[in-house]
C-alpha cells in the first residue's frame, strides 16, 4: 500500500537559520497542500501544488513538488520565532476524488 513519510518529526533551529521539511510518497500524488498549525491552534492553509516540478514562493517560504509528483518540500529561509509550529503536508492520491490525507507533521521550534 501507499506510504507517505514526512521528515523530520522535529527540528530545533536558531533564529536566522534555514529549515526544510519533506514529504515523500511511494506512489504518485494528485496534488499536495501544506498547512501550518501553531501551538494550541488549528491548521491553516499555506499553499497547494498541482503540477509536476512546480515551485511556489511566499516571502521566506519556498514550496516544491517533485518531477514525479512523489515528493514535496517546504523550505523556510532565515527562520523567525513566528515560524514556530507544526507543518503538515496533505495529499490526494491520483484517482481519489476528494479525500485529503494529512502527514504526521514536522514540529519546528525556533529560539533566539
Amino acid at each position: 500500500g501507499q506510504q507517505v513519510m514526512q521528515i523530520p518529526q522535529y527540528q530545533h533551529v536558531q533564529e536566522g537559520e534555514d529549515f526544510t521539511t519533506y514529504c515523500n510518497s511511494s506512489t504518485t500524488l494528485s496534488n499536495i497542500q501544506w498547512y501550518k498549525q501553531r501551538p494550541g491552534g488549528h491548521p491553516v492553509f499555506l499553499i497547494q501544488l498541482v503540477k509536476s516540478g512546480e515551485v511556489k514562493k511566499q516571502k521566506r517560504l519556498t514550496f516544491q513538488f517533485g518531477e514525479a509528483k512523489k515528493n514535496s518540500s517546504l523550505h523556510i529561509t532565515a527562520t523567525q520565532t513566528t515560524d514556530v509550529g507544526t507543518y503538515f503536508c496533505a495529499w490526494r492520491n491520483t484517482g481519489t476524488a476528494s479525500k485529503l490525507t494529512f502527514g504526521t507533521g514536522t514540529r519546528l521550534q525556533v529560539t533566539l
Partner: protein
C-alpha cells in the same frame, strides 16, 4: 474574514456518556469535514459532507459516532457512548467544492477529554 465556528471549545465527559459537537462552516461552502486529531499527529478525516450528503465516512466508527448535516449548512458530530480513547481534538473544516483541490478552512476545534 469569514471563519468556521465550532462549539464547545472544550468538553470534559465521563466514559459511557454521550457528547455532541457543533460546526457552522463558512457561508457558501458546500463541503464540510470532521477530523479527529490526536496530540502529536496529523488530522484524520472522520466524515465528509457534500451539501447534506455523506461522501466519505470510511473512517467513522459507526458503532458509536454519528454525524449529520440536515439542511446542508451546519453540522453535528455525536459520540455515544464516549470511550477513553476518544480523547482528542475534533476539528471541523469547510471548502468551496469537493473533488477539486480547494483549500480547507479549519475551525478552532473542540478539545474532548474523556475521564
Amino acid at each position: 474574514e469569514a471563519e468556521v465556528a465550532q462549539s464547545p471549545r472544550y468538553k470534559i465527559t465521563e466514559k459511557s456518556q454521550a457528547v455532541a459537537f457543533w460546526c457552522d462552516p463558512i457561508s457558501g461552502h458546500a463541503t464540510l469535514y470532521w477530523y479527529r486529531q490526536i496530540l502529536g499527529q496529523g488530522p484524520e478525516l472522520l466524515v465528509q459532507f457534500q451539501d447534506e450528503s455523506v461522501v466519505d465516512d470510511s473512517q467513522l466508527p459507526k458503532d458509536r459516532f454519528s454525524a449529520e448535516r440536515l439542511k446542508g449548512v451546519d453540522s453535528t458530530l455525536k459520540i455515544q457512548p464516549a470511550e477513553l480513547g476518544d480523547s482528542a481534538m475534533y476539528l471541523c473544516a469547510s471548502s468551496l467544492v469537493s473533488g477539486l483541490p480547494y483549500e480547507q478552512y479549519f475551525g478552532p476545534g473542540t478539545r474532548l477529554t474523556v475521564t
